[in-house]
Structure formats: structure tokens, C-alpha cells
């Protein structure tokens, strides 16, 4: 067994908090730059400001967005690891707390969703998975609630077609995409169970951004949805234009004969994540 002290997790999570809030990931920046090159008029100006935002954030250590999210932490723990010196969740939250406090980030968490009350940095959601091997992988995704509030799940009929799926996504963007800070990154979880579809709609963007799917059906669906969404005219910053979304990524999951869950995760233009391995 490989022994790892949970303090190491705290340390790494703190670094990831900084990385995700101040540095826009390279594949995201590349897609924004590509759009800015192709855009014209006011949309080119808006995309320029979004890129300038990333550069100010990195140089001045001001977070990319005042909504510093709920940071969502994904842990993949090798089954040959023994974690010592305390609780894993506590270790993660200590790291989040230290990073958010030292980085001057926002206290956006309320402990009780009904009573609301005082705000804090933690607890943040943690998703854990045991994997083969002796490595511990940590991904930290920062998601603001402007885009979280307009994300959506629907349980479609198993006989629904690809164009039904496309229709759901396009309608959602048409109705609410303006609020989600476009140009958007759209993650889809198709199939599975309710919670699997939702989780996939988030992780697929991290796993597959900048990579084309090898499956023809998925490739076609992603391309077709992206083209339709970009015909809506919402544009970058919702100031009008042809870059309403920069990427659509779909993850397929085995599901029940009676259903076809569809989770649509709308992410703002500053899709922020960082990852590391211990």
C-alpha cells in the first residue's frame, strides 16, 4: 500500500483553487481566440474583452469572475493507496478554505438552502471514485451559478430521436442561454440514470474539450447542435452575433430500456478547472 497523508490533499487543493480561479485553461483560451479572429464588429470587441479579462485575472490575481463558484472537487483514488492522518473530505475543505481565503475569493456558500443566513467558503461538493493503481487524481471545477441556474435535466422517451435531443438543447439555449454568459460551453449527459447523466454533463467538458469524438454519431450530434445554437444570434456576451457557443460535448451512458435521461450543462465562457495527480 502506498501511504499518503491527507495534508498533501489540502496542499494540492489550495493550489488548484488558485489555478482555476486565476488562469483560464489553454483549450478554453484557444477556442476564444479562434472565435475572436473570425468575429466581426461588436462581437469581436466583446470577445477581445473576455480575453483581456483572462489576462487581467492572470497578471493581477483578480478572479476571472466575481462568482468564484462552488468549487466542485472530483477525486479518483487509486485502490492501492492508504490515506492517513484524517478525513479526506475535511482535508479537501481545508484546502478550499485556505485557497479562497488567501486568494480573496468570495464566500458564496450558505449552509442551509432554506434559511440561507451567513455565507462561507465551504462545504463544497466532492465526488469520489476508486480506480485501479496507486495514483490519486484531483480535478477542481469552478462553476458560477449564472450558468448553473439555467442548466437543465429532462427524462426523454426511449424512442426520442437525435433531433429531439437537439431540439431540447437549442430551446434551452434560446430561452435561457442569454443569462449563462455566452459564448457557452455545452456539456451533455445522454443516458444512464438521473445522477449519472448530470455528472457526465459536467465532466465531459473537461475530458473532451479540444478533442473530437471518435464515434460518428456523437461527432455528428455535437456538430449539428453547435451549428443550430450559433444560428440563434445571441452571440458573445449576449450582445448579438454568431458565437453563442464555442463547443458542444456529449457523453453517452448505458441506460434502462424505458428511458433516455438528458442533462444539459451550460457553462459560461470562462470554463474554469484545474487538475493534478499525487
Amino acid at each position: 500500500m502506498r501511504k499518503i497523508k491527507v495534508d498533501k490533499i489540502t496542499e494540492k487543493v489550495k493550489d488548484l483553487v488558485f489555478e482555476a480561479n486565476f488562469n483560464l485553461p489553454q483549450p478554453v483560451k484557444a477556442l476564444l481566440q479562434n472565435a475572436q479572429r473570425k468575429a466581426s464588429g461588436r462581437e469581436k470587441w466583446v470577445l477581445g474583452k473576455i480575453l483581456e479579462n483572462a489576462s487581467v485575472a492572470r497578471k493581477k490575481k483578480i478572479p476571472l469572475c466575481q462568482d468564484t463558484g462552488l468549487p466542485i472537487i472530483f477525486l479518483e483514488i487509486g485502490q492501492e493507496i492508504e490515506l492517513t492522518n484524517g478525513s479526506i473530505e475535511e482535508a479537501v475543505w481545508q484546502g478550499v478554505k485556505a485557497g479562497y481565503r488567501d486568494g480573496c475569493l468570495r464566500r458564496s456558500v450558505v449552509l442551509n438552502p432554506l434559511e440561507r443566513g451567513k455565507t462561507d467558503f465551504v462545504p463544497s461538493p466532492i465526488h469520489q471514485k476508486v480506480i485501479p493503481g496507486d495514483k490519486l487524481k484531483i480535478v477542481l471545477l469552478v462553476k458560477g451559478f449564472g450558468s448553473e441556474n439555467v442548466s437543465h435535466t429532462v427524462m426523454l422517451n426511449p424512442t426520442s430521436s437525435l433531433s429531439d435531443i437537439e431540439g431540447e438543447v437549442v430551446n434551452l439555449v434560446k430561452e435561457k442561454g442569454v443569462n449563462a454568459c455566452p459564448p457557452l460551453f455545452i456539456g451533455l449527459g445522454i443516458g444512464g440514470t438521473l445522477e449519472e447523466a448530470v455528472l457526465t454533463s459536467k465532466t465531459i467538458l473537461i475530458r473532451r474539450l479540444g478533442k473530437v469524438s471518435r464515434e460518428r454519431n456523437i461527432k455528428h450530434l455535437e456538430k449539428s447542435i453547435l451549428a443550430s445554437v450559433n444560428k440563434l444570434g445571441i452571440g458573445a456576451g449576449a450582445w448579438g452575433g454568431r458565437f453563442t457557443a464555442l463547443a458542444v460535448k456529449a457523453g453517452l451512458l448505458p441506460t434502462h430500456i424505458a428511458g433516455l435521461p438528458l442533462a444539459v450543462n451550460l457553462s459560461c465562457h470562462s470554463l474554469r478547472w484545474a487538475k493534478t495527480e499525487i
Partner: protein, 179 residues
């Protein structure tokens, strides 16, 4: 790019600002989001005075991050305006000249904007670090216990926005929120 000095002298100034116009805002605004709005409305209901006089003022929907030591402002981008829809008509009736945020507004808000000849502006959602450079001073003036949701007095210079709903009630969003 049209220049807008806030607070405005009177509502007539706003007639020149048409939907889709790009605007550069300078002057003093106040921030308020969900909880501050709730408290404004409670005060109005209880016939108490508001902590700020809203007449001819602009409200910016935002909850900034704390500033790093030695800096004026943290990240300060717009939050989703429609969450304030239930409160906005009452504030416009008190003379509020305009609101700044992101996204669509509901039908009742558009009606109220038209009635009081106000405007609704949107700035670039998610450009919070960039927008922080347009802030010249920032201080908490009310509801200090609310943390990022407190009311801040903000001095801005050349703060960029576009007119999303003009004083005639014309909106850049052809379909308004139906929620």
C-alpha cells in the same frame, strides 16, 4: 459610444439612449443583489426610509469579491438580473433611473421601465476582472452584514454597457423571459 453620467440630472437624459446603443458610464452607482433587494422591499412595506435615495440613481447587480490589500476593487461583474425582477418595479416607482446587470427581464419589468422612462443596461457577463479596472472607488454603505451582498457605493469611469431595454420599452431580446 454614448457617454452616460450617473446619477442623472433628470429622466429626460435617458430618452437619447436607444436599445442596442453602446454606453460608457462614469460617475457613482450603487450595488444591490438578491438580499439587499429583499431588505429594500421590507423597508418600503414597513414605511421605513431606504438606506440610499434611489431617485435618479443606477443600481448595479453584483456581489464583488474582496479586494486584495492595496487594491480598490476585487472582481466585479454583473449577476443575473431576472432574479431581481420581482422587486424592480417598486424601486423604479421610487425614481430609480436604471439598472445594470446581465440577461433578460420579465414583462412586468419592461412595463415598469416604460412607465417610469428608465433604462436597463447590460454589461459583459463574466468579465469581472476586466471590469474591476473601471472602478475608481468602492465602499460598503448599507447592510454591511450581508458580505458580498451588501450595498456598495461604486465610483466608475468609462464602464462599458449596452442598452438592453430603452425608456420606450424596446428590448434587444426579442423574446422576453416568460417565467
Amino acid at each position: 459610444m454614448k457617454k452616460l453620467i450617473v446619477p442623472i440630472k433628470n429622466k429626460k437624459v435617458l430618452a437619447d439612449f436607444r436599445k442596442g446603443d453602446m454606453v460608457s458610464i462614469s460617475g457613482v452607482l450603487y450595488t444591490a443583489r438578491d438580499k439587499a433587494h429583499q431588505r429594500f422591499l421590507t423597508a418600503i412595506k414597513e414605511k421605513k426610509s431606504l438606506p440610499i435615495d434611489l431617485n435618479n440613481q443606477f443600481l448595479y447587480y453584483t456581489g464583488p469579491t474582496p479586494a486584495l490589500p492595496g487594491r480598490i476593487s476585487g472582481a466585479i461583474g454583473p449577476t443575473t438580473s431576472s432574479r431581481m425582477d420581482a422587486f424592480t418595479p417598486r424601486l423604479l416607482a421610487l425614481g430609480l433611473a436604471g439598472t445594470i446587470g446581465k440577461g433578460k427581464r420579465g414583462k412586468e419589468v419592461i412595463k415598469a421601465i416604460k412607465k417610469s422612462k428608465a433604462v436597463y443596461l447590460v454589461t459583459i457577463g463574466g468579465a469581472a476582472a476586466y471590469l474591476s479596472r473601471k472602478i475608481k472607488s468602492l465602499s460598503k454603505v448599507a447592510y454591511k452584514d450581508l458580505g458580498p451582498e451588501a450595498v456598495f457605493k461604486v465610483e466608475v469611469k468609462d464602464f462599458p454597457a449596452i442598452v438592453a431595454i430603452d425608456s420606450k420599452g424596446n428590448s434587444i431580446y426579442s423574446d422576453t423571459l416568460t417565467l
